[in-house]
Symmetry: C2
Subunit: 109 residues, 2 copies
DNA sequence: GGCTCTACTGCGCAATGCGTAGTACTGTGC
DNA sequence: GCACAGTACTACGCATTGCGCAGTAGAGCC
C-alpha cells in the first residue's frame, strides 16, 4: 500500500497537532512533521493544508521578517482550531482503535 | 474532521482483513465492516475496492448461487493478497504509532 | 554571477470514497 | 398478479486532498 494515501484526512490533524505545541510557519511545519516520522510528507501538501485550515477559520496568521531568507507566514491555533484539534483527535483515536481491532486477528504470528 | 476521509488508503486494508478471516462477497463485507465499527462505510466504496483488489491480482473470485436473492460473487485472498495484507498492516501500524506519538502531547487532560 | 538554503504560491494530476441510479432475483402481503 | 422490501451487484460522475513541478524571491557564500 502506498503510504501516502494514509495521510488523507489525517494531515489536517497532524498539522493542528504541531501548531498546538507552538506557532509555526509552513517550512518549519514540514520539517517538524518529517522529524516526527512523517518523512514522506510533501511540502505542497502542508502549505495547502495550512491555507485550507486558515480559510476554514481554524488558524490565525501573521507575517514575520526573517534573517535567513524571505518573510515567514506564521500560523497559530485559535479557538476554532483548538476545538477542531480535540474532536479530530478523538475521531482519529477511535478510528485507529477500530482498525487495530480488525487487524489483531490477522497477526501472522 | 469528516471521518470518511480517514478511510482513504485504509479501506483496502480493512477489506483484506475481513477476507483473511474467511471468503466473502460484497454485500457481506459491507455488513462485517459496519459491525466491526466502520459504520459509515459506503457500499459502492467496498464494491469498488473489491474490484480494484481483484484487478490488482490480490483476490480470487467465484460466483455462488443464493437462496435468498441474486447470485453472490465471492472473493478470497490469494498469496499476493495475503502478502499485501501483511505489509499493509505493518505500514498502517507504524503510521498509527507515529500519529499517536504526535497526538499524545495534545491530550487535553 | 551562479549556487544553495530558505520560504511561499499556483497549476494540474491522480487516487479513492461516496451518492445516486439502475438492474435483477426472492419472498411476503394484499 | 402486483407492489414492496431485502439481497446483491454495476456504472457514472463528483469531491476531497495529497503530490509533482514550475515559478518567484530574499540572504549568504564562493
Amino acid at each position: 500500500m502506498d503510504s501516502s494515501q494514509l495521510l488523507k484526512g489525517v494531515l489536517d490533524l497532524a498539522v493542528l497537532a504541531v501548531l498546538a505545541e507552538r506557532d509555526s510557519y509552513g517550512y518549519d511545519v514540514v520539517r517538524r512533521l518529517r522529524e516526527a516520522g512523517l518523512e514522506d510528507v510533501g511540502d505542497a501538501s502542508v502549505y495547502g493544508t495550512l491555507r485550507r485550515l486558515f480559510k476554514a477559520g481554524a488558524l490565525t496568521s501573521y507575517v514575520v521578517a526573517s534573517d535567513e531568507g524571505p518573510h515567514r507566514k506564521y500560523y497559530g491555533l485559535n479557538d476554532v482550531g483548538r476545538s477542531l484539534l480535540q474532536t479530530s483527535a478523538k475521531t482519529w483515536t477511535s478510528f485507529a482503535a477500530t482498525m487495530n481491532d480488525l487487524l489483531k486477528e490477522v497477526d501472522p504470528g
